[in-house]
């Protein structure tokens, strides 16, 4: 007991609230995705009529783009941490473009499914589960893109500085999460469920 210090530890450090908050949000979002993934898996092959998952094409290029956007945003984080703002801007723009490509690719895929294969959300159970799971993920990509473009706009206006590095990192956590979820969705929908 005599070892109790008279003065409280001067190195009183706590985790950043931004990080803790974002990790909490990610845990909550993961639960939402879990429910949709479970519904998708449970309903595989239970459609009583209509198109089956065999009509899906594996979106390899899309996946490569989205997953590389995690690398580009990591490079952007690295750049802002060391105050290289121009490099940051370029990597950030690259991340945005890769995200936009993913959404465009999804749009093309859905256009084919709807107009060539006749699969809409109301066609059958497969359509319902497919569009809601992939759509839920696409919604998250779009939310992420809105955030990315806001930060891009501030960057172009010269308002993002090195001292914002931590906020950028917190936001990037969300983008990494969106990418990680795609790995699960991709595996379930295009590899296991097809």
């Amino acid at each position: 007991m005599s070892s109790v210090p008279i003065f409280v530890d001067e190195n009183w450090r706590l985790p950043s609230r931004g990080r803790v908050g974002m990790f909490s949000l990610i845990i909550g979002e993961s639960a939402i995705f879990t429910i949709f993934v479970v519904a998708y898996v449970y309903y595989i092959g239970r459609s009583t009529y209509g198109p089956t998952p065999q009509i899906l094409d594996v979106p390899v290029f899309n996946t490569v783009c989205l997953l590389s956007s995690s690398i580009t945003i990591l490079l952007a984080e690295h750049a802002i941490k060391h105050g290289r703002m121009r490099t940051f801007g370029w990597w950030w723009a690259a991340t945005m473009l890769l995200g936009l490509e993913f959404i465009a690719g999804t749009a093309i895929e859905w256009h084919k499914l709807i107009f060539e294969d006749g699969l809409s959300l109301r066609t059958n159970l497969f359509g319902t589960t497919f569009y809601s799971l992939v759509g839920l993920h696409a919604t998250h990509v779009i939310v992420g893109l809105i955030g990315l473009s806001l930060i891009m706009a501030f960057t172009l206006a010269g308002r993002v500085e090195q001292r914002h590095a931590e906020r950028i990192q917190v936001f990037s956590l969300y983008w990494h999460f969106v990418d990680a979820v795609w790995v699960v969705v991709f595996t379930v929908v295009y590899l296991v469920g097809r």
Binding site: V4, V8, R17, G21, S24, I27, I35, T48, L125, T128
Partner: protein, 562 residues
Amino acid sequence: MADQILPIPGSLDTAPSRGAAFLEWLHSWVVTVDHKKLGILYIVYALFFLLVAGVEALVIRIQLAIPNNHFVSPEVYNEMFTMHGTTMVFLVGMPILFGFANYLVPLMIGARDMAFPRLNAFSFWMTAFGGLLLYYSFIGGFGLYGMGAAPDVGWWAYAPLTAKAFSPGHNTDYWALALIVSGFGTLGTAINIIATILSMRCRGMTLFRMPLFSWLMLVVSGLTLITITPLTAAQIMLMIDRYLGGHFFDTQAGGSAVVWMHFFWIFGHPEVYVLVLPAFAIANEVIPVFSRKAIFGYPAMVSASVGIAFVSLTVWAHHMFTVGMTSVGNAFFALSTMMVGIPTGIKIFNWLATMWGGKIRFATPMLFCTAFVMQFLMAGLTGIMLSVAPWNWQLHNSYFVIAHFHYVLVGAIVFCIFAAIYYWYPKVTGRMLSEKLGKWHFWLFFIGFHITFDIMHFVGILGMPRSIYTYEADRGWNTLNMIISIGGMIQGAAVLIFVWNLIDSYLHGDAAGNDPWDAWTLEWSTPSPPPAYNFAEDPVVRSRRPLWDLKHPNDPDWKYER
């Protein structure tokens, strides 16, 4: 002052007129990001809906008091039990407990405010508008029986009753949308509480020196993250089915109604623990202070709470024994449900051991907490009974189940909420609640509670099913139902005394001073009510009972704690 809508603060003009002063006051509450004001808003909002849902409960009890009654129509009756359940869980239970967390957690951990004050305000207003949206259905909802229809599908909203074919109109959509909206508010608050507790503690406030209230709120918020979100997901699926023609719960297209049940109870059972853990949190603060002893088994309390949170995630299908599961499924969920009894048992023994040998002061908060310990034990025991699958087959969806979960929700949670209000009201308002009215409130409520819910077990065993509109006179339930309804009225009277006490004491109560209960946690070191900045200087903490250390410099706690 008609030309001036919002007075400029700090203006040196003549004193503002009454109307302008009122507007300024209102404005300050609407735009506030202060955790204390938001906490009060949460609690007032929840107390308002407590009265509303209480009236709904009394309508149910009047309808069931005598056989073949037609006090309300069957349609209104369905709306009443749906809205009673939904309101009590989503608009009373969670907001009031998050309100306490909002108010108390920053004060207890020595912080200036929550981690994200604006997110905090956003969450409150989401929750508030979710509630208003739900209740607007009484005016604007269109259902099976025309305009002015509130949701009437039960608070569990089982498929396929919620399908467009069986619930036409949009009163079911009011239910789903309102809960999605307030669910996002809840998620925001949970994130905020976690970030506050992990990142905003004052110097020296290590995790294991935090008051147990904060510890349990941390656990609850973590549980909320993974509990509310499945409901949101399931309700999004329901909306897809109803509005976009999806087939999630459409059996004709291969969908499954049982999947809805699973998703609902994956939310629904942990939700019970989201509600009851804050009640434990309150008891953890009140019982030691009124027993004049430090809490017994602090680490055991923390680990039991974390244990409850984990086990509660694995028990949901005990709501579904009668649906028909495999024997492995039945055995798993029966055993996992029984396992919850271990950590909760630890807690009950800890509370008893805290009281044991203590110098107990039976002020109103302690009365409520003492009753809570006994009632929660009984609720747990009927819970163990219901976890036995064959027993459950016999009694599922009977009034025995209703009695069991009201023993938890009222006997544990509402009792602790009352204890919390009597305990912290002096801190929030600067005035004491009347002890005399408080004792009347407690004894009437206690007696009414036991008349209602003890008897409810008996009608349940006699076979009375839940959610029925009325019953024949020859079932042998007549007298018992009348007694239950009388008990309900006594509880209603007790709540009226409580409301009168809140109002009267606010105007005429005795001044409270900083620390009326001689308590030990940091919130009692601030003036009552605390100033906007909480602490004039950042506190430094060296033990679990910082105020004890201050009051007893010769015998501080940190000498004995490691």
